[in-house]
Subunit: 356 residues, 2 copies
């Protein structure tokens, strides 16, 4: 996506080309996927004024052949960046100033890179990539809507079957199975956190019995590489009056916060609004209000108190307040929202407290 | 694991402490998990002569409380490495020379790190960590055996049900469901590659119909954070004489290569042995012969032609020759092997050509 916009950035920054890579194991480059649709081993070069190039090892060539970049090369050299260097030479690219993504470039890779590109100056373009990715194209919006609609469908199926699950793991396994069966991927490992486990926002499901009380279901899929994210909290058994009150306060907070979203709104203001709405429970809110979603599950904008980001048209992000009572329970309600003149929830599963 | 051995390395390298981290998204530190059992957001400090410390944000504190490290701190500061710096101060640690893992430390994190630890010298200990992790402890061997035995059981169940799967995605989903239902994790996304898709070693299953012919099933789980890895290639329909010949040649190559494993054997020699055994098909072998497995799915030793590694007692690694015929088919046979005076296959599923 947005290759032409990216080339203008390279022009402005006076870089000869940008290089992104996925080397043996280590780190996955979301930007390589964003610009090329390729996420196997290898590297992507985007020259300032030429067509992009992908280079991949033998074992990945057939798979790389299916990506958006049409100029595909085989890694001939044993050393990763030696091949990348040869590729730049072969294509007569200048190597005076190269743009790299310093948020996914490791110190060790950089040492190897500099052994080949000896006199090069590097320029970090991680922030520019995040800013490009923050505003979605029409194509991306279409894909993300579909991603959210799949997430809704699968989550609803899991909720419908919830009473048949004995363990948290079984519920998580069901969510995954339904995802994979449709040829989709998870955008993160589903969280199924019942009873007191719900007070850990990043809890990992265990094969212990589902406890009575609140159960947090946090789930998202990837469709064509694009993430969705939704959380619903349901209840097994009979909630107390106080539990119902807390749930409804959180739900009101989430809905009211969504209604506050407008063009140029500061994300920190949205956070503050949510906190204020939580009243005496505001100290039980332990994380950010939300995050952008796209090729990564967490991207810009960042909806935290310390954030300087503002809401703009064609951003897609979550709104997910939660309250956590250690050793007791947790509740979180989350939607993925598109802002297009007004906030539009892309995840549509009912948010009324469901008792199973 | 091996905290005391690691402290000796810090002593030898004259480092005051080592720091590992998982920051907001980006990169996961396998070494942080290896030493602490914690893999959430935060940082791990291992001082040369004191107990290790974990620092985590509010939302992760309860989860971090369950890890091996008993000294747990809350991230008070907004900036990640500011909190880490405060923690070091609070514990009266010298900050002259700090060990870091440069294979999972990004350039951007390093910039933030250096803003806090201004005059510090850093020393890369990525290689030392890999070397520590390469030789498994008795506890790790026990866990890895169990991990392989789960992988066997689940793979066999999938093979038993294979004729009921319509699509590759359905088979992959089944493997995942059975994994998650047991409260286990995948060590990587399962590969189910039928017919001509099998010629792509890292193929991603699609929701297209399973084709007749060979189907590669490459699968592994994580038990207590430790990976297993197994590949079997089965056949739908009736294989031709030539297909059977190629399968049996590959199988003989895999078995004979395993029999060549002994103490101090060079990994490159094992690779060469396999290649020689493949005879006229040697050019159809597109990847390394194998890799260590542990807290990561790919670790040391590296069984490639260019490798300098040698087999030692208590190493656990895969042997996985394969042959790939673009647009036709692929075959791969892989076991996870423990070397303990002799090679012991930890994955035990039958390797005779199974026709379904």
């Amino acid at each position: 996506m947005k290759i032409n916009e990216f080339k203008l950035i390279l022009e402005r920054k006076n870089c000869d080309f940008a290089v992104f890579y996925n080397s043996d194991s280590a780190i996955y480059s979301p930007n390589m996927f964003y610009f090329s649709g390729y996420r196997g081993l290898g590297a992507l070069i985007i020259p300032k004024r030429k067509q992009p190039l992908v280079i991949a090892p033998d074992m990945e060539l057939e798979r790389a052949g299916k990506c958006l970049v049409k100029k595909l090369y085989r890694m001939e050299k044993k050393k990763f960046f030696e091949s990348v260097y040869e590729l730049a030479k072969k294509n007569h690219l200048k190597t005076k100033r190269i743009a790299i993504d310093k948020s996914s470039f490791t110190l060790n890779s950089y040492t190897h890179f500099k052994k080949q590109f000896k006199k090069v100056k590097t320029k970090d373009i991680s922030f520019e990539c995040l800013k490009l990715r923050e505003i979605k194209t029409q194509d991306e919006i279409r894909i993300l809507k579909k991603s959210c609609s799949y997430a809704d469908k699968i989550l609803q199926k899991a909720i419908g079957n919830f009473s048949s699950f004995k363990t948290e793991s079984e519920a998580a396994a069901f969510l995954e199975y339904e995802t994979k069966k449709l040829g989709l991927e998870l955008s993160f490992n589903p969280i199924v956190a019942s009873g007191s486990n719900g007070s850990m926002p990043h809890y990992e499901p265990s094969n212990k019995k589902i406890k009575n009380g609140f159960c947090v279901l946090d789930f998202g899929i990837k469709y064509k590489g694009y993430c969705s994210d939704i959380t619903r909290t349901i209840y097994s058994g009979k909630p107390s009056q106080k539990e119902k009150e807390i749930y409804n306060l959180l739900l009101k907070t989430q809905k009211n916060t969504i209604n506050q979203i407008k063009n140029n709104k500061k994300c920190s203001e949205l956070y503050n609004f949510a906190i204020t709405n939580l009243g005496k429970y505001k100290d039980r809110f332990l994380h950010g209000l939300g995050h952008g979603v796209g090729v990564e599950i967490h991207e810009m904008p960042n909806l935290a108190l310390s954030s300087k980001d503002k809401i703009k048209n064609s951003m897609i992000f979550t709104i997910e307040p939660g309250v956590y009572f250690p050793k007791k329970f947790g509740i979180r309600i989350e939607d993925t929202i598109l802002f297009k003149n007004k906030p539009i929830a892309l995840t549509k599963t009912s948010k009324d407290l469901l008792i199973v």
